[in-house]
Symmetry: C3
Subunit: 390 residues, 3 copies
């Protein structure tokens, strides 16, 4: 409990300092529409993404039967740490700038989404204040990677040459690989013996989260595309999700004899992950194929790879983010190579490679720092930290 | 399991063929607003409707206690089958065309909504792959009816002379009557002896679905009205829903002594169903009256008609779609006769009559085809098809 | 049951009369954007607020374990009473006018939100028809207060001189204090002995409601601001909510040793309540501070004040609306004094004072009237009024 107190003071101080001087008021402008119209279009997508962050990711993680209060509280804390931290840092010009307040908010939400993915890898094995610390450590690494890959940071990759409209690489793959890095350093032997239990109620909550993500995924991918690109992008995302949903059912029943509801809740979304890099450019037929492949790959991951990964890599990935965000994210990034005409292939490949390296190293570092606040005594249980939890 | 495999191959093949050549890029244009603004307005409604399809219809059907995982997975599969199928077919010019990608998406969502209604009639009695097959069969019939009633197809009814802005007739009544047709051919004697159980948790999930439908219903009805008609339409829908919600409570407690939460979750929505044909035209006072009458009629259906219908028609309508979508939908279609000035009465009546015939016949045909994939052994239970289900 | 019948007739009659002559068709106009664009922007916010009313407030109240069906049905009835009543009365010019249909709808939703807050104070202790009567009584009092404080009614405060963009004073504080008035007159000795129970499932439902409110809160506060003010307002609200969420965790664990999930579900929202008066004007750093203070104050209320309040004031506040809406609402109203330059300080203070008086007196009156319909026999239980409830 002592570390908790220390942390509280640090966290409070950091947040207070961050905001002390912080006032800004630029406005987004575009050529074709009045700023107020464009702002409003983006605002609606920003709110859709917020629904994904809290109810989507939050309830998807409620599948752990005795850890529902914790998963939802952790989601609240992660989002509440990430958004102001990103908005503040960006307003101060850290790792590039964003044009307007709503645009900055959307970028911050992307960062929060990636953080939630990373947290999914170690869900149930951090204490509440450690989630906050995870957020404080993650966001700067995330912003650094985003700046290097998309913004021309350090001069490694020319700005704007990596195609990643909906974030297959810098959001999904980054978050998943960062999470793997954390899990690699933090997984204890004790945790290997502990089963992650779900039941009918936690499964249905999990499906609620999954559906919330499915519904608003088009807004995630189309958040910052031009108004002209929007319709095609949106329909592509929906077709890719439909493809992965059907493929998930077919693969789940084929690989396991009976369907796993965890496959459905997770792998059905893989089409959204994988279409991210090419959503504005692919034809609808290609979007469908990407969706089907991603759904199949992800289901194969949950049904076959996950249990082996535990032994090979000596780590537990609580929510299977490797299978939902890692593999489909990388697949999506590489899918741009054959699909997008005039793509700078070298940039795309370097972007994927660098993201893997930066995410993994920063995850390892974070996994070394988090235990300074101690360790959760009993994994996947609310009772240690919440009142009245059985 | 053999039929399942056959089906998988068929489904995959059909979907792959459908999309092979499929590229299109027209844009919506209107006189008063730039295309990008109109697209964006429609996009937001399209997303609202998506929330209705997945969480709305999906969770409303979770009231069946032991069939929650199945109901939600079925919803995913139905929507993932219907949307690409409709979008593809329309892009190829099957049964008429739609102007732009977002408009086509909205029409596809309408089709998916009608499909979910139809599926509600036989919920719990199909195997998962049968829901996919149901979708593949339903959508062409639905598109045919839509084309005949609204688009002047076959030259039976002049295009644009049937008033059905929010789909009382072609979406709600069509889906419900199609579902009755399927139920009529498929209901087994064994199913009459099986009780459909709910509990406190499944009831609360069901209310979540109901509320999601209530909230976004104005977007459903106003999805394609002109910007000038939007405000009046939206307020009409809300007033009709408020009317049916209050009426449902009053009728439920009067007819049953104690309130049935199933009445509340379902019949409260009847105002939305019934206002569909006249939502852009009725005055607010008339909208209230339609809502109250629809709520009363629907509650009467659930409380009194449903148990008799089972004996008379020798069928089980799992979700009571007759009472929520069938009767209020027909009521709404006929309500246009006295309400809308200058309405082509003959067209309206013919439209309703033809919809009844087409829906019922195509439902019967579908009900004959579905059993080629076998039958679910134990109705209303997850355990047959899902892992770890009790 | 006899009073129930009488009530039914009264309610039906009142509603029918109200709507008899009721037709209107004005449109919103603004200088900078076409009416149809502005209408559409406001429409999206109106729908967001609807999600807050039904799923947000509704599920937040499901924390009472055995009263979930009732809490959700009551939410339906309260909203369905409030919206048409407000819309009708405003269209008739009662206590001022609203420019267009969508604007009137948004004002009506604000009234419904305030009503739901008031109902939270006595949740579980009214019979279903009493919730409807509560709505019928509440809305005129609410409209009167809104008119006096914001619209210059009775000439007490010059119109437009009280700053309350997001309703800290006239929505949150008014609702909470009205609810206290009702609770004060209605709480029985028997109720003091009855424990309000929650469990893991009801807690997770409650978090769903809380997250729904969090997500859409920016739309609540920015519903009627100018397009130019929107981005700053929205980011302010999100920062305030993030601040209160973090503060709630820190205070809950400090004050109670273990975290109370009820604190998280409720006090995390206090930042949204308290930023209401200044959301368009405060800097982001000030928004953060307001959020942190509100979260701390609210958590302190739940953890420390609530149990003492029961003894001092001899009342039970079921949902703790004093702590979530009362204190943070008043804090938000007073926060405008130092923050907003050029504020009419006298008006602001008078506005807060008058709201307290009007709310409390009208709550007392309402609490005297409600018992004419009898009393609920067993508090916090569905079984008295719902079929199949255990």
């Amino acid at each position: 409990m002592k570390t908790t107190k220390i942390f509280r003071i640090i966290a409070a101080t950091m947040l207070m300092i961050m905001y002390s001087a912080f006032t800004f008021a630029q406005e987004v402008t575009t050529k074709t529409l009045p700023a107020s119209v464009t702002n409003d279009q983006r605002y609606n997508r920003a709110i859709h993404i917020m629904a994904m962050l809290l109810i989507g990711f939050g309830f998807l993680m409620v599948f752990v039967r005795k850890y529902g209060r914790s998963a939802l509280t952790a989601t609240f804390l992660l989002v509440s740490t990430a958004l102001p931290l990103y908005i503040f840092a960006k307003a101060q010009g850290l790792f590039g700038t964003a044009e307007g307040e709503i645009e900055r908010l959307i970028f911050a939400e992307f960062g929060a989404a990636s953080l939630l993915i990373a947290a999914g890898a170690v869900l149930g094995r951090l204490k509440m204040p450690q989630y906050i610390l995870l957020g404080l450590l993650f966001i700067p690494f995330y912003m650094f990677n985003e700046w290097v890959i998309l913004g021309g940071g350090l001069g490694l990759i020319p700005a704007g040459t990596v195609m990643d409209t909906g974030g297959s690489i810098v959001i999904h793959a980054f978050g998943a690989i960062f999470g793997l890095g954390v899990a690699l350093t933090m997984t204890t032997n004790q945790e290997f013996e502990k089963t992650i239990e779900s039941d009918a109620t936690s499964d249905r909550y999990s499906m609620l989260g999954s559906m919330m993500l499915w519904i608003f995924w088009p807004s995630f991918c189309a958040a910052l595309v031009t108004p002209e690109q929007m319709p095609h992008t949106v329909v592509n995302v929906i077709i890719a999700l439909a493809g992965s949903t059907l493929a998930t059912y077919l693969f789940s029943v084929s690989l396991r004899k009976k369907v796993s509801i965890a496959d459905i809740a997770n792998a059905a979304l893989a089409g959204g992950v994988a279409i991210g890099s090419t959503c504005a450019n692919a034809s609808h037929s290609v979007a469908l194929i990407i969706g089907i492949l991603a759904g199949g790959l992800s289901t194969f991951g949950f049904a076959v790879i996950q249990s082996r990964q535990q032994k090979w890599m000596k780590l537990i990935d609580t929510c299977g983010v490797t299978n939902l965000h890692g593999l489909p994210g990388l697949m999506g990034g590489f899918a741009a190579l054959p699909i997008i005409h005039g793509l700078n292939m070298q940039s795309q490949v370097e972007g994927i490679g660098l993201t893997i390296v930066i995410a993994f190293v920063s995850g390892l570092i974070t996994g070394k720092i988090l235990p300074i606040m101690g360790r959760k005594a009993e994994a996947y249980e609310d009772a240690e930290e919440f009142l009245d939890a059985e």
